[in-house]
């Protein structure tokens, strides 16, 4: 009886609730039904989006401040967003960019370069590209306005205040001192009209303040220049980030990705892909992401495992090559046995350079060769000539007997040689092992003094506490960077020796190096570099070993991916990327 009553009550309540809820539901039924058609149809596959993977996040739109400058982060993203009058070619050289401006040297003494900006060139917000922007670069880079943080005054410090007015498209730069890399001067950096506006000035007022050296007036602008473009958990207002290239920054998802969209205002050849997404993916996870289609292009650091993993994938193009990053052995000219040129020679004769490349580099880059000079890399056109002139190729074969003979002539007996390098670095440890196996036969006693503190302040490299140092240099096709490495130092102290870690000195060479810095004719520079390399081999200042291998892989449905050996990274031509 009571069961029946309860059951009845249960059914009553259940039906009541059902009706009630149905009524509620159907109240909203109509608009929902109208929209359900569009809502349930999924977003279409983004067919014109190319995805690239990169490990680090972008932290700021402005990569020119000394806090934010890093060779990779900004280049990868901003390569085709903020473009300049030049860029790196695939061989690492300087490639002019006539879409932005043409330029020519009009005088050698004083060095004067005339830039003519494309009359159609505008920022993606419509503002004119020209004089004002060059004035901003001068203000930041000349060192005259110290409120602006700028990475180096090496280039713009030599340039006199440009004489142009707002709206000018022709700008002439006059150098106080000649400068070898004048072709690679960063002319167009950040948008001046934004800096002026954020500094509470009109563009005219801004340019006038720069001309008059009015630091006080530019204080607010400098503050914005240094901090206003930082990504603090979200990107700055898009209005503050106009682009000068075929892409604009479209959106940013912290920790995940940044999206570039086609710049509709771009005056030159438009980007092929509507969007390029750069996802932030750790290097060791990039291969599987490529395999699962979550990225189309990857550029991870090369190691044998990654190369093998990529080799097993279908539908993926893998390209290996050299890069502007080489390992070498530097002798200690300050103290120890290698002040004696014959002992340097004996050591150089037993270093198995070919074997090192065969064993350690070829598994990742089948076409790898020994690096026979220091400041020109295998993929540069002048490499073969330079090697032949400098005589670097004759040091690639090991001659234990000759080495033994030189060593015994010096009367040093079993000579102890300490090779220092930064640990952990498995490849360099193996290099030392190979050298030991070979040179111990010649009578050396090679000691591995690699340590985790090798690079640190007060470490072995800084204190010149090594017989031979094994480390890398990241180079570039520009010549202003490396000359100080071979120049006589003032004092052989940690702070005094700069890049010349072994305190090598050759007064004759110093003159050539100085000449390079002020040589403005590229063809002559090539000859000067040849001379430098010859002297460095004759003196056996250091022994270059190999270029570190570069690795790029992309899925076959993406077209026009061209790896770039320079620091420019594979994104250098992202406006040509297209996807099927």
């Amino acid at each position: 009886m009571s069961y029946a009553r309860r059951t009845g009550r249960f059914l009553a309540v259940a039906t009541g609730a059902a009706i009630l809820l149905t009524a509620c539901a159907s109240g909203e039924d109509k608009p929902a039904a109208n929209e359900s058609g569009s809502a349930s149809s999924a977003p279409a596959a983004a067919d014109t989006t190319v995805t690239h993977a990169f490990e680090q996040e972008l932290n700021s739109y402005n990569g020119y401040t000394s806090e934010e400058y890093s060779s990779q982060n900004h280049i990868v993203v901003n390569n085709r967003v903020l473009q300049d009058v030049w860029g790196y070619s695939t061989e690492g050289g300087v490639k002019r960019n006539p879409e932005v401006a043409t330029y020519e040297k009009v005088s050698d003494d004083p060095l004067t370069v005339k830039y003519t900006f494309n009359p159609k060139a505008v920022w993606s917000d419509g503002a004119d590209i020209g004089c004002a922007d060059v004035m901003l670069t001068w203000a930041t880079g000349s060192g005259k306005f110290t409120d602006f943080s700028y990475i180096s005054t090496e280039q713009w410090g030599r340039v006199e205040l440009p004489d142009c007015k707002v709206g000018d498209k022709e700008i002439t730069l006059k150098y106080k001192q000649p400068f070898v890399d004048w072709e690679a001067l960063d002319v167009l950096t950040m948008p001046a009209h934004i800096v002026a506006e954020q500094g509470g000035l009109t563009v005219e007022e801004f340019v006038d303040a720069v001309k008059n050296g009015d630091k006080g007036k530019l204080k607010k602008a400098a503050e914005f220049y240094n901090k206003g473009w930082l990504f603090n958990g979200k990107m700055p207002d898009k209005k503050l980030m106009p682009a000068s290239g075929p892409f604009v920054i479209d959106s940013y998802s912290p920790g995940q990705s940044i999206t570039l969209a086609r710049n509709e205002k771009y005056w030159g050849e438009p980007a092929k892909a509507a969007k390029v997404v750069i996802r932030f993916i750790p290097q060791d996870e990039q291969v599987q992401a490529l395999q699962n289609g979550e990225t189309n292009i990857i550029e991870p650091q090369s190691n044998p495992d990654v190369v093998a993993q990529l080799g097993g994938l279908n539908g993926v193009t893998v390209k290996t090559g050299d890069q502007f990053l080489f390992d070498h052995l530097t002798f200690n000219f300050n103290k120890g046995p290698f002040k004696d040129p014959n002992l340097r020679k004996a050591f150089a004769l037993c270093v198995p350079r070919q074997q090192i490349v065969d064993n350690l580099i070829k598994p990742q880059n089948p076409e790898a060769q020994t690096l026979d000079v220091r400041n020109v890399v295998g993929f540069q056109p002048q490499y073969a000539d330079t090697v032949a002139f400098a005589g670097g190729d004759k040091w690639s074969t090991v001659d234990i007997e000759a080495s033994k003979k030189l060593l015994s002539e010096s009367g040093k007996g079993k000579l102890k040689v300490r090779i220092g390098y930064n640990q952990p670095n498995p490849r360099r440890t193996q290099v030392v092992e190979l050298i030991k196996a070979s040179c111990d036969q010649a009578g050396f006693d090679i000691v591995d003094t690699g340590s985790e503190k090798f690079f640190a302040d007060g470490g072995d490299l800084a204190n010149t506490n090594f017989d031979v140092a094994l480390f890398g240099w990241s180079g570039s096709a520009l010549n202003s960077g490396w000359t100080s490495t071979y120049h006589t130092v003032e004092k052989c102290t940690p702070s005094g020796k700069g890049n010349n870690k072994g305190c090598y000195s050759n007064k004759e060479l110093d003159k050539v190096l100085d000449e390079i810095l002020s040589e403005t004719d590229p063809t002559k520079t090539v000859d000067l570099v040849k001379q430098v390399e010859k002297t460095l081999w004759d003196d056996l200042m250091s022994i270059p070993l190999y270029s570190q291998p570069a690795l790029t892989a992309w899925s076959e449905n993406v077209q026009n991916v061209v790896p770039n050996a320079s620091q420019a990274s594979v994104t250098w031509n992202m406006h040509e990327w297209a996807i099927q």
Partner: protein
């Protein structure tokens, strides 16, 4: 109690303060912050080094740097990292990411782990118990990065490949069915005849279901459908009430069945509402479900309201959950197409620039959470199942359990009411510590799956020898441990009267 809490807090903050000093010094000494710049021959390298020395204050001794940081902290400022970005905003993003990643995994891991642990305690030394013990130790000893890579290979890349033609080969169906049969048979307690029957049923059901799924290409366009939801939700309601309330008094079961039935009957009318859903309306529906279920439980529960109401709410929410899953699966096919037929993701927390309705976006999140959650559950399962098994076994041997049996109480009541409740008390401590651990991030998992959570922030800054962000992470993790420890103590006192009274 208040005095106790205050004392605990004061001591803990002093400990935390001392720990920050040690941590700061250790981070500052952990490496060379300029290492990456020392091999650059570019003219910019010098300026970069100078800027970094200034930003990290490398020119002053470490204790001075520490007190600078501490002073800022007391002003409520977590400072900036070496490139001038506010640590607080980074910390907010990282904490959100970590919570998204780890909370679900921790909850699911705890729930499944405890269930397995309890069952294996009830079937001590059975083949199920041995099998679980073996599996738990295998999982426990697996390195996360390896599990993660395997999951990516087989659950994402190969699974996505397989989805193009989702047919399960017969031999796979056979193997899985045999395995399922063995598992069920090992749980069954009794003679071999019963075991054999259980095996047969388990085998047959699994084989038929898998074959049906394969033959109908279910994986290409999955869904649950009204009949399935109705049957499963009613069955679950009945099962839960049997477990909790038993067959002696049926009011709680009526309540549970009613709320499941009402929910399932609303399947069709709800569809238009759901197709235009957002997070708010889903939460609203959940709230409505709770209210209606509560009313049902209250009305139908009679004298057993205290059992009926939770049961009704549980059944209602479960049914709602099934409808939710069904709706999200309806979006599966179009979602798959929109991500180029590769729905299971290996990296990141979202498809970049993905836009769609609520269901597609939710599915996108779910597909990105799937693998890391699986990895975390697999690793965490072992601990929970072992702890709860041990705790349950201990309780089952207590005198009061024997007394309860001697009174003639049914075995269900003995286990659920007397043993299980008391067995779970020690587990609260472990759960609380687990949640505190959540805030330290899951370093390896975050790295492998490309989540920028607290663990990733910690390791990145440590690698760069940049103490400020590390200290930010450390503060969050340390505070979480202090607070959750205290929550555990308080919960303990609340759950166990013996502690309260002593």
């Amino acid at each position: 109690m208040l005095a106790f809490i205050a004392r605990r807090l004061a001591i803990s903050s002093l400990v935390l303060l001392a720990a920050t000093f040690i941590m700061f010094v250790l981070v500052a000494l952990s490496g060379d912050p300029l290492a990456d710049l020392r091999e650059q021959s570019t003219p910019q390298a010098q300026a970069q080094m100078a800027a970094r020395i200034k930003a990290l204050r490398l020119d002053v001794p470490i204790p001075v740097r520490y007190f600078g940081w501490l002073t800022d902290l007391f002003r409520g400022d977590l400072g900036v990292d070496k490139s001038g970005h506010a640590v607080s905003s980074q910390l907010a993003l990282a904490t959100t990411a970590t919570l998204q990643l780890v909370v679900i995994a921790t909850l699911l891991g705890a729930f499944i782990g405890i269930m397995i642990g309890v069952v294996s305690a009830l079937r001590q030394y059975s083949s199920f118990d041995h099998g679980i013990t073996f599996a738990a130790f295998v999982c426990f000893s697996l390195p996360v990065f390896w599990v993660a890579t395997m999951l990516k290979q087989y659950m994402a890349i190969e699974f996505n490949d397989w989805l193009r033609d989702p047919v399960i080969p017969l031999w796979v169906i056979g193997l899985v069915a045999v395995f399922a049969g063995l598992v069920w048979a090992s749980i069954y307690k009794g003679r071999w005849k019963g075991k054999l029957t259980t095996f047969a049923i388990g085998f047959a059901v699994t084989a038929v279901v898998l074959y049906a799924l394969s033959a109908s290409h279910w994986f290409a366009d999955p869904g649950l459908g009204f009949p399935f939801i109705l049957v499963v939700s009613l069955a679950a309601a009945a099962g839960a009430s049997t477990l909790v309330a038993g067959w002696e008094n049926l009011q709680p079961m009526y309540a549970a069945l009613a709320s499941a039935g009402v929910g399932a009957l609303l399947y069709q009318p709800l569809q238009p509402v759901l197709s235009d859903a957002n997070l708010l309306s889903i939460l609203g529906l959940a709230l409505l479900t709770i209210v209606v279920s509560w009313v049902l439980g209250h009305t139908l529960g009679g004298l057993l309201r205290r059992q009926a109401i939770p049961l009704a709410v549980f059944s209602g929410l479960l049914t709602g959950g099934l409808i939710f899953v069904d709706r999200i699966l309806q979006a599966w096919h179009s979602y798959t197409v929109s991500v180029r037929n590769r729905p299971v993701a290996t990296i990141g927390s979202e498809t970049p620039n993905y836009s769609g309705d609520f269901w597609h976006v939710s599915l996108d999140s779910a597909m990105h959470l799937l693998l890391p959650t699986l990895a975390l559950i697999l690793i965490g399962l072992a601990g929970h199942s072992r702890y709860s098994r041990a705790s349950m076994l201990e309780v089952m041997n207590q005198d009061y359990v024997r007394t309860a049996r001697a009174k003639g109480l049914p075995e269900r009541t003995v286990i659920i009411k007397h043993a299980f409740r008391n067995g779970m008390i020690p587990i609260t401590t472990i759960l609380a510590l687990d949640f505190a651990g959540v805030f330290s991030g899951a370093v390896v998992t975050e790295h492998v799956f490309g989540w920028r959570g607290l663990g990733a922030m910690f390791t990145k800054s440590l690698k760069e020898v940049d103490p400020t962000p590390v200290m930010g992470c450390f503060l969050v993790a340390g505070a979480a441990i202090v607070i959750w420890n205290m929550v555990a103590d308080i919960a303990y006192a609340y759950l166990d009267p013996r502690i309260r009274l002593s």
